[in-house]
Symmetry: C2
Subunit: 276 residues, 2 copies
Amino acid sequence: MELWLTEQQTDHVGLACRVKETLFTGKSPYQDIAVVDSAEFGRMLVLDGVFQTSVFDEFVYHEMIAHVPLLTHPNPRQVLVIGGGDGGTIREVVKHPAVVQAEMVEIDGLVVEVSKKYLPEISEALLQENPKVRLKIGDGIQHMKEAQNKYDVIIVDCSDPIGPGEGLFTPEFYQDVYKALKEDGLFVQQTESPFYHQPLLRRLFSDIRDLFPITRTYLASIPLYPGGLHCFTLGSKHYDPLQGEVPVLPFATRYYNRDIHRSCFALPTFIQDLLK
Amino acid sequence: MELWLTEQQTDHVGLACRVKETLFTGKSPYQDIAVVDSAEFGRMLVLDGVFQTSVFDEFVYHEMIAHVPLLTHPNPRQVLVIGGGDGGTIREVVKHPAVVQAEMVEIDGLVVEVSKKYLPEISEALLQENPKVRLKIGDGIQHMKEAQNKYDVIIVDCSDPIGPGEGLFTPEFYQDVYKALKEDGLFVQQTESPFYHQPLLRRLFSDIRDLFPITRTYLASIPLYPGGLHCFTLGSKHYDPLQGEVPVLPFATRYYNRDIHRSCFALPTFIQDLLK
């Protein structure tokens, strides 16, 4: 028997993956959670039927959501990750020597537990009980309301804007992010596919630009995600990723490098036009 | 009844597209040919079950295979396209004011006829009988053997290295390309997915580098193709796309632009390592 799991990427497109084994299925108060071992992508985390991350290509997303902002800020000591329950983002954050504390606020404790059990390569910073890491299971929106002038870098590593991630894509949330950042702080959020989610991307970019003097969208190629191209939008109070020296990375990477640090901000014309 | 057409992108991954209408199916001496109208990508050309191009995203591939080499060469007067039966590449080539003659050698006349009938947006340069265009239905490998010191730019717009395109991925073919180019000529070839076809890409890059003093791989994001990321490899006798002034484009584009002209050569670390 051949098992195929198909993710409905849009109403009219599906990505089908051959599955060798289903390792976990369960239900949290927030979502359906599954881990499957796929033939092409290795182990994959699936939330509400949406492919979240895979052992095959997770390095792209996690390196790009972490290293671009953390190397744009010259001294990121206090870092907050909202979401990111699989642990891949915090794994990259703690590699930066400047980071003193990396807080992580994930709403769904079961995602963390499942990731620690079935995706140890991704969740290693949570498994090792890294002293820089402070994990809180709770509501990122509420956490952000209570924080003030506290963080150098905030990373919003959320799922799609349907379900538990919805409130992380609003102007009210961005205002709280602004307030929670120090006066030279910056934040980044995954902002979906520039091919398939254009109205969303345009709205988010505009909402962030209304608050932050420096707003930039950058790209990364992720085979697992719709269209294979994903974008991230950065809002910064002071530092501009396109200004100054290109930073030197003090550890090995598989996707991000000094060339990518600048080139990921080079947008195809149709995306430039969308964000005008 | 809902119709879905699934392309087997690898042994273990499929891309499924909802199809509104099947417009053409037929068989040439070389391959099975179909044109379907898909809900997400619009009209698509399908050869031997492989999605070749779609109205939705064809601009990425065709702009990137044409404009990068044609704007690397300062005066591309004589241009040859091998393959490219849908006409999209030649449509972009003839936009360049310097181009005096654009020859196109496609082995499968039925692909050209079907594209002219069902994909007029893509095949417009063939429909209009553009005076710069000279179309020959024939074998690109044989054509290349007979040409000497003739072309400024050669574009190898071939299908996958299985089926009629196979002989376009060999050292013998590259030697003929070298010979067919003028002394400052350059060529480019589509070289598949850097995620899924790594041994092939490494071999092609190495074969091209054995002949050409300047060899560079560049990237473009194409949702229809496996992994959403496609690469092209350029072999050049004299001009280096990373040297000199970034050219100004004298017409409008939807993907390619001056930022992309350089940034498309910035390779993620895993691709840099692959091509070392």
